[in-house]
Symmetry: C2
């Protein structure tokens, strides 16, 4: 029978940043990504949650490889000047853990169970990007290995985990 989670991957080579106060109009997300891509920066997880204040600006958070972090300020400097009030902030040092589901009926709640596996190991979740069969959680860098083991154990995976990016 199909396992609920087919595999889990840990990437310890990522950094997280957010751009705050992005104009909430068509083209902003596209321009942000274009500037980064043009500088050869690869974005891994990109998250934008629902509008929360009437202030109108939006925040986009993303993760990228640590080596690329130094390229970001130049890549975005023109855009940040153009978008009055916008700025970049760095998140804490992180690790990214992602699971790939086996397409179970979603009332099984696989994403929530992955959050439970992390909570049981007292790991705080910093960022979440989940869609259908794939759940990505960002945790503090120090919790990376513990997170991989916790999810592995919770879903009874034997050799289905992958580590990448460790230095």
């Amino acid at each position: 029978k199909e396992p609920e989670v087919r595999g889990v991957a840990l990437d310890t080579n990522q950094a997280q940043i957010s751009v705050i106060n992005i104009p909430d109009i068509p083209g902003s997300a596209a321009s942000l990504c274009r500037k980064l891509t043009e500088s050869g920066i690869c974005l891994d997880t990109i998250v934008q949650s629902e509008r929360q204040h009437e202030s109108g600006g939006r925040t986009i958070s993303f993760t990228l490889s640590r080596d690329d972090r130094k390229l970001v300020d130049d890549a975005l400097s023109t855009l940040l000047k153009e978008w009055k009030g916008s700025y970049l902030i760095d998140g804490i040092a992180i690790a990214r853990i992602s699971s790939v589901g086996a397409g179970m009926p979603c009332t099984v709640g696989t994403a929530g169970r992955m959050f439970r596996a992390l909570a049981n190991a007292s790991i705080n979740i910093e960022m979440i990007a989940t869609s259908e069969i794939r759940t990505s959680c960002i945790v503090s860098e120090n919790d990376g290995t513990k997170a991989l083991q916790a999810v592995h154990k919770f879903f009874e995976l034997n050799n289905n985990s992958v580590r990448s990016g460790g230095s």
Copy 2:
């Protein structure tokens, strides 16, 4: 040669909600999902972006099928009472458009190009959950069909799109 995007799906049967001021400690995300899953609610896209204020509370936004929206208030009432200052807000009427990539080198910037396809059609992006090869964008419900056509056209997909959830 591999296409950059293998397929795109539109779901017009989703609603978006956010829970605001969630205690930022291990277990919050897991408890939120457990309460919803126990009421038979299926979560599709779940997004939590980086901490932005020192206020300490976090926001989790998610999408679910419209029929399940009426079950949410009861499902979460105990938790929302327990989490002082937390509350639920409904987002605007939405559609979800997701593309599945073909695993191109990420410097191609497929997610950003999908945002560009939407921007070219003057479609505002309300929520983003992107991880590696899959990009999910939430747009206003009225933009759903236009979004599917725009992404389809931009990536030159012929019969690789799927519509679901239309009433």
